[in-house]
Amino acid sequence: MQIKPILSAMRHHKAGVGLIALQIALTLAIVCNALFIIQQRLAHLSEPTGLDEANVFVISNQWANQSTEQQTHAQILADMAALRRLPSVRDVSPSNSYPLRGSGWDDYITLTPEQTEKTTDANVYLGDEHLLDTLGVTLLAGRNFRADEVGQISSRQNVASPVVIVTKALADRLYPDGSALGKSFYEMSKTPSTIIGIIDLLQNQSVSTWNTAYAYQSVIRPLQEDNSDGLYYIVRARPGQLVAAMREVPKALYTQNLMRIIDPEDGELSFAEARARAYDSDRGMAILMGIISVVLLAITAAGIVGLTSFWVGQRRKQIGVRRALGATRSDILRYFLTENLLISVGGVVVGIALAIGINLWMVTQFEIARLSLVYVLIGVVVLLLLGQIAVLAPARRASNVSPIEATRST
């Protein structure tokens, strides 16, 4: 196939060629950025929490009576005992929060008590000796808390815990040589906290971008919150009994004491619901980018079909002449396919530059990551294929033009 005659023919409808190329360029720029955003969001929302998510649910329990700390403490113990007796419940622990809650407790960690600048950040979880089993996290080294190590904490009072369990991520951050077990650190206190256990994974309470650097750096303190506001009960149902447990647990709690608030709307959340809430904006972005990409590709394809059909209609006579002079149908077909390929390649080259440019601009505006070239490559292949497929129907029609057309006057 000779390219030269195609190029000289294109010179006769520069504007149309330019517009298709521009459309392909812009589409490529938007689609590969959209695909990249989709991938980033999907990767974010499929990060593991480290929990036995299929069986875990959370109760947000607020107190409605004005009890003393001792009374609240006794009530929490009674609640725990009552819930642990339920046949559908495997284990339960009181806590201040749970992974993916949206906001939570975050402490600066230092290796010495004098340090003013932090060594790193850690998410703080409170719980009793049942917390590890309730979450379903794996203890990699050391031991769990003993019941006698579990202390109490009240409103705006804070005392460093002498013993703590940390995630491997935090242990490795503080002691990269793997010697964390038995060592200590300072958690915004003059008193050291000693690492007695290391667990594999426990994600943060917030999945916002600002704490991605600390996403899995968590510390568990053996404490029960006895303040008047309330706390969370994390419950792990026996396998397959989640629905039953979610029905029985609130009933059992209200049987214990009516003066509590479990919000009818979000006071009890299965972990699947908690996960859906935590990532609603990521999911929404992925869906929106998906819709825009699909519609955009469809419109660009339709645009190519429309303009090529127009050119075919315009050149029926010339096609007829070529056919009369001996060009085969496949010659005509190839002519239009090649013409489209040339335009597409031109558009794609501009598009690659645009895609990278838009991404760089978005990096400064929206703090998103740098575009990986894989997505540009995917976009290029998709658009070249799309162009060839879109041009196929009008090109077929062109190849069906009979040589007799050459003899007709327009």
Binding site: A15, G16, L19, I20, L22, Q23, L26, T27, I30, A34, I37, Q62, W63, A64, N65, Q66, S103, Y108, T116, E117, S155, R156, Q157, N158, V159, M188, S189, K190, S228, D229, L258, R260, I261, D263, D280, S281, R283, G284, M285, I287, L288, I292, V295, L296, I299, T300, A302, G303, G306, L307, F310, W311, G313, I358, M362, Q365, F366, E367, I368, T410
Partner: protein, 436 residues
């Protein structure tokens, strides 16, 4: 003549249904995507208090120092010590501190199940400062603040929930086991973004249920239900130790009527911080800020990133749809080159050709706008899938958005048609006639 061109336009659009459908769909989808994302953006990026946004300021004082502050910026709220110092100094015409509180209420007396309620502990100036509209009664006085009075202002919705549809002013209400006298019921007041809640990160949550005096809340040791941020050692054995610490949780707001007042207040902040440095409380030079509502919303990044990315991508999408339309219109107009040649030869001016084709484009834009409107309406139902629920609830398809959808579609299509129309107007009549 214009009506005639309009009819011509319609006829031309009907002549080529596939091409027309394609263009209408491109414009419709493009404008709908832009409008849906814009409706969300509009809802979250607006000025919540347009009349006063440049007179309301939040003072910030660096109590953490260069090693622990937010990369040079002071904390976004005040410690109790600094907050109380500002209140005592009273250097603004109106001033309030505020923090989020949560209480339990028994709406149907002692035999009902308790419910939770969200509110703010504020000073009496809060209501006139933020122009809270009242249905019944009013806010409370400075004397009530000083007297640590057990009074409360309810939202209309919360009043309805607890008392039914009555004027509850003068009634007693028990919150967290303590009695309060209702002094006012605020009319529906749903600012978005709720600028004064930005520190707690819930600028788009449901409006608060009630407001009670800050001084009273402190007496009853109400804990903050919002954010609390500390530096250094946080070993507190008592609540008082926490109050004396560098933990920030109280949001200050002041009303300053003129630029001169604002400048004076900034000086006051500087001299306060300098005093603290001299007294040895701060080991660093004064580092203060005084930001008004708009500047504050900017610093707090209140408009979610997702909203801005979506709008940007949707606008890019619309531009591509228009490029598509330019190409197709060019094809469509140039196909009628012969017709144009005849008209021109018969004496039609170029401007007539422009008029005819631009009106045809406007007709097309109108059709695209109508489709866009339908798609926007459908899309609004799905906004909850695309954005966080508390933000999605703010997006509405109102008259102004409908008008904007149609107008954007028509204007954009006419703009897109300029180049094709120019090409059409420059068709050489002689050349066309000859080839025919």
């Amino acid at each position: 003549m214009l009506v005639y061109y309009f009819e011509l336009g319609l006829r031309s659009l009907r002549r080529n249904p596939a091409l027309t459908t394609l263009m209408v769909m491109a414009i419709g989808f493009g404008v709908a995507a832009s409008m849906i994302t814009y409706s969300v953006f509009r809802a979250v990026s607006g000025n919540p208090i347009p009349g006063k946004s440049s007179q309301l300021f939040t003072p910030q004082i660096d109590g953490w120092g260069p090693q622990q502050n937010l990369q040079g910026e002071p904390a976004e709220a005040l410690s109790y010590t600094d907050a109380m110092a500002l209140m005592r100094a009273h250097q603004a015409s109106r001033q309030t501190l505020l923090y989020a509180v949560h209480v339990s209420v028994l709406p149907g007396g002692s035999r009902s199940l308790p419910i939770g309620a969200n509110g703010y502990a504020v000073y009496g100036d809060f209501f006139p400062m933020f122009e809270v509209p009242f249905r019944y009664g009013s806010g409370w006085s400075k004397a009530d603040d000083d007297g640590r009075a057990a009074v409360v202002v309810l939202s209309e919705a919360f009043n309805h929930k607890v008392f039914g549809n009555i004027d509850s002013v003068g009634h007693e209400l028990t919150l967290n086991g303590h009695d309060y006298r209702v002094v006012g019921v605020a009319r529906h007041w749903d600012l978005h973004p709720r600028f004064f809640a930005a520190f707690d990160g819930n600028s788009f949550d449901d409006p608060s249920d009630f407001y009670l005096p800050f001084t009273r809340a402190m007496d009853l040791q109400f804990d903050t239900y919002g954010r609390n941020s500390c530096r250094g050692n946080i070993d507190f054995s008592t609540r008082d130790a926490w109050l004396r610490s560098n933990c920030v949780w109280a949001m200050p707001w002041v009303e300053l009527d003129s630029a001169a007042d604002a400048a004076r207040y900034r000086q006051f902040l500087d001299s306060y911080a300098a005093d603290q440095q001299r007294a040895g409380r701060f080991a660093w030079a004064p580092n203060v800020r005084l930001r008004n509502v708009t500047q504050w919303l900017e610093v707090e990044h209140v408009v979610p990133r997702e909203t801005r990315i979506s709008l940007t991508v949707a606008l890019g999408f619309f531009v591509i749809c228009l490029v598509n339309t330019i190409g197709l219109l060019l094809a469509k107009f140039m196909r009628r080159a012969g017709e144009i040649g005849v008209r021109r030869a018969l004496g039609a001016a170029r401007s007539e050709i422009y008029k005819q084709f631009l009106i045809e484009a406007a007709t097309l834009g109108l059709a695209g706008g109508v489709l866009g409107l339908a798609l926007t309406a459908v899309g609004m139902l799905g906004v909850g899938l695309l954005f966080q629920p508390q933000i999605a609830r703010l997006a509405h398809l109102d008259i102004s958005l409908m008008a904007m959808t149609l107008l954007t579609a028509i204007v954009a299509t006419v703009l897109a048609a300029f180049y094709p129309a120019w090409r059409a107007a420059h068709v050489q009549p002689a050349w066309q006639l000859k080839s025919n």
